[in-house]
């Protein structure tokens, strides 16, 4: 197992190298830079700025420099926030985004898992029909529509929760629901399908025949097998939660990485956009590895080689 993990981690490096190189050159080939303004800067000011960010060097020197910096974990200075490095900004935003992401995944798993199990147990029953139509409906409501509508109802209308911002657990509720609902729907479908597959098998009949309580049969015997497809979905889901959080952070004015990313993309803050992209890629590669290891642990039939 350790060997497997090590080999996977070594495999990350070529991938990251390609990502960094590609995005670096694409960024530099782009017309227009972050310092282009309506009024032309005085020659000297411009030269100074370019010297500071090493933009006056030939492209290959800049590239090598950037590669070296990234290898040491330094993502460079931000072009737009002159006194901040990209690392500082990521450090600031990441705990916020992580909290939001985990809460959203929690919402998705609880809601989706429960709905899926209930639907799978009573196939073609009322619960099944209701949850599955609800799931299909939920997949179709984009989070940037759901978010404002939830905000309108629960914050502006009823005044139960804060409208936007960050600070207390009450600020977390609406964004987590907004972000989590979409995945809850997929997870519900996956759990239902997994449940249907497992519930008809012999070992479930045996468990029932032993006289176990239905709750025990479902939770201890059926569920671990039924959620296996959900575990494989966690990799893509976490990627999507990260992306979705860009919108949700914008809607609810949450100071996470996603908001920095959007504002830096709009401002052509290249180092910031690049740095965020690299950071997210590392995060996702790691997360996919964790999911694979977890899968092997949950399903003994899977051999990691």
């Amino acid at each position: 197992m350790l060997g497997y993990i090590l080999r996977r981690v070594t495999g990350f490096f070529p991938v990251l190298f390609v990502i960094v190189s590609l995005s670096f050159f694409m960024m530099r080939l782009a017309p227009g830079g972050p310092f282009d303004q309506e009024r032309a800067l005085p020659e000297q000011v411009r030269a100074n700025i370019e010297a500071r960010y090493h933009l006056d060097e030939p492209l290959w020197r800049q590239y090598l420099r950037y590669l070296g910096d990234v290898a040491q974990g330094d993502l460079g200075p931000s072009f737009r926030y002159p006194d901040r490095s990209v690392n500082e900004l990521l450090n600031l935003g990441f705990p916020v985004s992580l909290t939001l992401g985990l809460c959203a995944l929690g919402v998705a798993l609880t809601l989706g898992g429960t709905a899926g199990v209930l639907a799978g147990l009573r196939r073609n029953g009322l619960v099944d029909y209701l949850t599955m139509s609800f799931a299909l409906g939920g997949v179709s409501v984009p989070n940037f529509v759901l978010g404002p509508i939830l905000m309108l109802i629960f914050a502006l209308g009823l005044g139960w929760l804060p409208v936007a911002g960050w600070g207390s657990w009450r600020h977390l509720i609406l964004p987590s629901i907004t972000l989590g609902t979409f995945y809850a729907d997929y997870i519900a479908r996956l759990t239902r399908a997994g449940m249907l597959e497992v519930i008809g098998q012999d070992f479930i009949r045996t468990a029932r025949a032993k006289g176990l309580r239905e709750a025990t049969v479902v939770l201890r015997h059926a569920l671990p097998g039924a959620i296996l497809p959900v575990v494989t979905y966690l990799g893509p889901a976490s990627a999507a939660v990260l992306t979705g959080s860009v919108v949700v952070e914008t809607i609810f004015s949450i100071p996470g990485i996603g908001r920095y990313f959007v504002s830096s993309a709009l401002n052509r803050d290249y180092t910031m956009v690049l740095g965020t992209g690299v950071f997210y890629s590392v995060l996702l590669l790691l997360f996919n590895l964790i999911v694979d290891v977890l899968y092997a642990y949950l399903d003994p039939r899977v051999q990691v080689r």
């Binding site: 409501v141 984009p142 940037f144 978010g147 239902r192 399908a193 860009v246 959007v262």
Partner: protein
């Protein structure tokens, strides 16, 4: 329900003078799929009938047809020019002249939504075509080459799967400018992975089938083999997945436009309308409500149709991805 005896009355269009049993194998999954009736003249006729029986899919198709028609006819049926502002009549709730109200600049919301539909559908369809082209080409190359090449190509897909795609789309949009053509290409360019996997799997399994081998033995050229014998038989899954790509792409376009990275004003898509609406929703809630509703109903219909098609064309695949 096994065998030919189970077949219902054959539809009038279903007989071409060919014995049905010669085409539809009665054993084909009769036990696994209770919906299988095995009476059509071709698998396509059969699929069509299954689709017709799916009420949700038909409802979705009907709604979609309405939306598409409205989008195409927008310049003729829209009550106002889409960029006509009327500051004295700004941000009014729905009235009889402005059925869905007006925005802050006094533009008619119904008109804006109709024109937005053009952009949203255009992006959905064109980006899907881009992804279809890349995915089918990539998948068939990997599947036909096999061996090392296939392994390497699929490894690339695996790696790309693990990356945060919307970020690359955003980066592409930042670099190449936020115009609509780039939007099609960027969205299509990141949506082809699953298609490539599906096509590759189909090619691999069909390639080894007897009818392909016999065609090969007769001397069919590799291109003819691939297009005529392999891809044509893989059309079902390809169509199904393409249908499901359309709502995904439309959602992504809306998402980008919502962030201000997609369609630029004065053009409007449903995403940018929702974005404007979200900014003003405290005072003018209808501005987010109607574009959001239009988008939701469309995505829902597309999902209904996609699911219906999957059940109709690909009976082996269970729903719940």
């Amino acid at each position: 329900m096994r065998g030919r005896a189970a077949s219902g009355p054959a539809p009038s269009q279903g007989t071409h003078g060919i014995p049905q049993s010669a085409i539809v194998s009665p054993e084909l999954d009769a036990g696994r799929n209770p919906q299988w009736r095995g009476s059509g003249a071709s698998p396509w006729h059969d699929a069509l009938r299954r689709l017709r029986r799916n009420r949700l899919a038909m409802l979705g198709l009907l709604l979609l047809a309405g939306f598409v028609l409205a989008a195409v006819l927008a310049p003729w049926i829209a009550p106002f020019p889409y960029d006509r502002t009327n500051l004295r009549y700004g941000a009014k709730p729905p009235t009889r002249t402005h059925l869905l109200g007006t925005d802050e600049l006094g533009r008619d919301l119904l008109t804006r939504i109709l024109y937005g539909a053009r952009i949203s559908f255009a992006v959905g369809i064109l980006a899907t075509l881009v992804s279809l082209t890349i995915g089918v080409t990539y998948g068939s190359i990997a599947g036909s080459m096999g061996g090392r090449v296939d392994h390497l190509m699929m490894r690339v897909v695996d790696i790309l799967y693990g990356l945060p795609f919307m970020f690359f789309v955003i980066i592409l949009m930042v670099i190449f400018g936020r115009n609509i053509l780039n939007l099609f290409i960027a969205l299509g360019a990141v949506q082809w992975l699953t298609m490539a996997r599906i096509v590759r799997g189909q090619v691999l399994s069909l390639r080894a089938r007897e009818f392909v081998l016999s065609a090969q033995a007769i001397g069919a050229s590799p291109t003819r083999l691939l297009v005529r014998h392999v891809l044509l038989n893989a059309l079902g899954p390809i169509v199904v997945y393409a249908t499901l790509t359309v709502p995904a792409v439309m959602l992504e376009e809306a998402f980008l436009s919502f962030l201000g990275l997609g369609v630029q004003p004065p053009m409007a898509s449903w995403g940018s309308l929702a974005s404007e609406g979200a900014a003003a929703m405290e005072t003018y809630p209808w501005l987010i409500l109607f574009p959001g509703l239009a988008l939701t109903v469309t995505l829902l219909s597309l999902n209904f149709v996609g699911d219906g098609l999957r059940d109709a064309l690909d009976p082996q695949v269970t729903s719940g991805r």
